[in-house]
Amino acid sequence: MKKRMALVVIAALLISVLAACGGTNDKGTAGEGEKPAGGEKVKLSLWHNFTGDDLRAQTMRSIIEQYQKDHPNVTLDIQAIPPDGYKTRLKTVAAAGEMPDVFILSNGSMTQEFSAAGLIQPVNELIDSHQDWKDGFMPNSFDAFTVDGKIYSAPMGLSPTSILYYNKSILEQNGLTVPKTWDELMNAISVLKGKGITPIALGNKAAWLAQSSIFSSLADRVTGTEWFLKAVKQDGASFTDPEFVQALTYMQDLGKAGAFQDGFNAIDNTQMEQMFAQGKAAMMIDGGWALSNLASNANAEALEQMGATVLPTIPGGKGEPNTLSGVVGVGMGLGKDATGTKKDAAFELIYAMSGPDAQKRTLESNQLVSYKVELDKSKVSPIFSEVYELVNNVKLTPVYDGKLTSAGGEAVNNGLQELLMGGKPEDIAKKIQDAQSKALGQ
């Protein structure tokens, strides 16, 4: 008897777990291609990572809400995924061949890999149907989303990555001006160092920062953009070329001169930004993302002291001097399963999230955009307007990890950490070259 009882209990437990749960929800695994009845009701899945309490996330969420109000016939299945887990989740689901209809798509390698696997659809149709919107974007905005002439998304932001932020009062107190040339920079470093002030704050724990912010622009100054693009394709240039080794050497010289504080590989970019905001360093080389961080974490007085410019020129460098490395932000991609009326609804959603109005509101939430919008300076911090002016007046050069393969980018990240710890530039150049050529399958 007892035996039967126990069996029944276990069986019941198992079944109830499976069944009770199974019953709760059966709808909507991503991309179930369903037929809208009479072209009326449409179900659309949307994946985004605007989950936080920051201005940008709030703005984007309100745009999505507005879309829902305006489109009562569209049922949005919204998944707000924590940014830290977004890529893991997307890649797992993509590996299983299931795609959401509209989702945040990174440019560069993700766009290339996903389009090669046929997981995403081009949005040329949408862009061409709004000519004024298309014209509103800054030059080359669609490049990073373009594969074989097809455009897969429109950028919702812009990240200049190598802005030289400086603290006006620290420079002034030490009789220095904003460094315009490499020699001026080296001089500033030695003067500041002599007085016990950290010349440049650096937080390179996550490894991409030195690559994206310092090296992308520094190397471009030395090698020129053309060389880099050839090296990326492994077509007529190699990362073992002398100009690249020289770029690495410049980077190492910066470290050897004591430009950065001790232990820069142990703190992250937020801590670095905080260090700069608190006046504990004279300069910082960081991207546009720092602006929203600074706006929410630094006081008004500290913000007043900040200025922004491009990296100094390098003697004999092949690159154009007055440039910034930068890359467009993520965009909304269109999954392979969104067809028919679903696709129409998806296009409208993409337009709502990255159209002219959304671009303007994004800019006003302290996020630069790759779109021509007049900035209302009363709505943002002074340093934000300064960077906005800067970005609108200089040319953008490519960011290393935006162009390299993921494996190549990783190799540069780790190589720069090694370089700043005393590694030999030639060896590191070789490792980068190997990683990039292997990833390209050569």
Binding site: K91, A117, G263, N265, A266, I267, S406, A407, E410
Partner: protein, 289 residues
């Protein structure tokens, strides 16, 4: 003499567990090992390449570096966490409020997210405002100051401390539970025989809980070979891969750089390595009983 009744009890006792386990654990493990035979980005077409991935794993210096780092973590766990937890469990076996309080406190780091633990230890090791360097300074040991997390010659060791500190709690609970199970008569009998202190510990108590210690060691080994979240928060595996572990190496390949097939091969290698180490540890510990 296994009767029908016994046999059916064994079957009923094991089959549901085995069923769930095989379906949700073993099938994915085998599946993942299978992906290891393919050149696959995680999306798009798969190309069968036989044992190439596995061969590449064995030739990648970075894999071996991660392996070496991981061995350090395993050693720190097995020879740090287990003895400390055992010692504490002997001292904290009473059920007074003081012991309860201490036991609970020791467990508390476990309930915290590794983000919190990582941030706090990051400040302890901080190059400028770090508590540790400050202490060394005030003790007149300024020359011992280090960049604890960014100097590759010390970073792995610096990381071992929080790992031990964090994980003592669960083993303490396990050992306390096991020690509670020693019937008081055995204790009394030993007492009458005149066994005291350390002799009683080694001749009576340790053998009684030896099985539990063995399980603890297995948990330690498998946990250390799979774990990377604390290190990920503290150093991100860097600088320049100097604190890379097997699991983070696997994760990077699988989800960061579009080498899903290769990442699967690495994870199969992790299973194989763990299996060898677990078997070895059990063999070494067998003779003692």
């Amino acid at each position: 003499m296994t009767s029908m009744r016994t046999r059916s009890f064994i079957a009923i006792g094991l089959l549901p567990t085995l069923g769930i386990f095989i379906f949700f654990v073993i099938v994915p493990i085998v599946w993942s090992a299978y992906y290891g035979f393919f050149d696959w980005k995680g999306i798009g077409p798969m190309k069968f390449i036989g044992l190439n991935n596995y061969a590449e794993v064995l030739q990648d210096p970075l894999f071996w570096k991660s392996f070496k780092n991981n061995l350090l973590i395993v050693a720190a766990s097995v020879f740090g966490q287990v003895p400390i937890a055992l010692l504490l469990s002997l001292v904290l076996l009473k059920n007074g409020w003081f012991q309860k309080f201490i036991r609970a406190s020791i467990f508390m780091p476990m309930v915290l997210s590794s983000v919190v633990v990582g941030i706090i230890w990051g400040y302890i090791y901080h190059p400028q405002i770090g508590v540790l360097n400050f202490l060394l300074d005030s003790l007149g040991l300024g020359s011992w100051k280090m960049q604890w997390l960014s100097d590759p010659s010390v970073s792995m060791y610096a990381i071992m401390v929080p790992i031990i500190w964090l994980n003592v709690g669960p083993y303490l609970v396990m050992f306390i539970a096991a020690l509670q199970n020693i019937p008081s008569e055995i204790d009394d009998a030993a007492q009458i025989d005149g066994a005291h202190g350390s002799r009683k510990l080694f001749s009576i108590k340790l053998p009684m809980i030896w099985d539990t210690i063995k399980v603890a060691v297995v948990l330690c080994i498998s946990g250390s070979l799979k774990a990377f979240d604390l290190i990920y928060v503290m150093t991100g595996g860097g600088p320049a891969h100097s604190t890379e572990l097997l699991a983070s190496y696997m994760y990077n390949n699988t989800f960061s750089i579009y080498r899903f097939g290769y990442g699967s091969a690495v994870s199969t290698m992790i299973v194989v390595i763990s299996l060898i180490m677990v078997a070895g540890s059990q063999y070494l510990m067998k003779s003692k009983k």
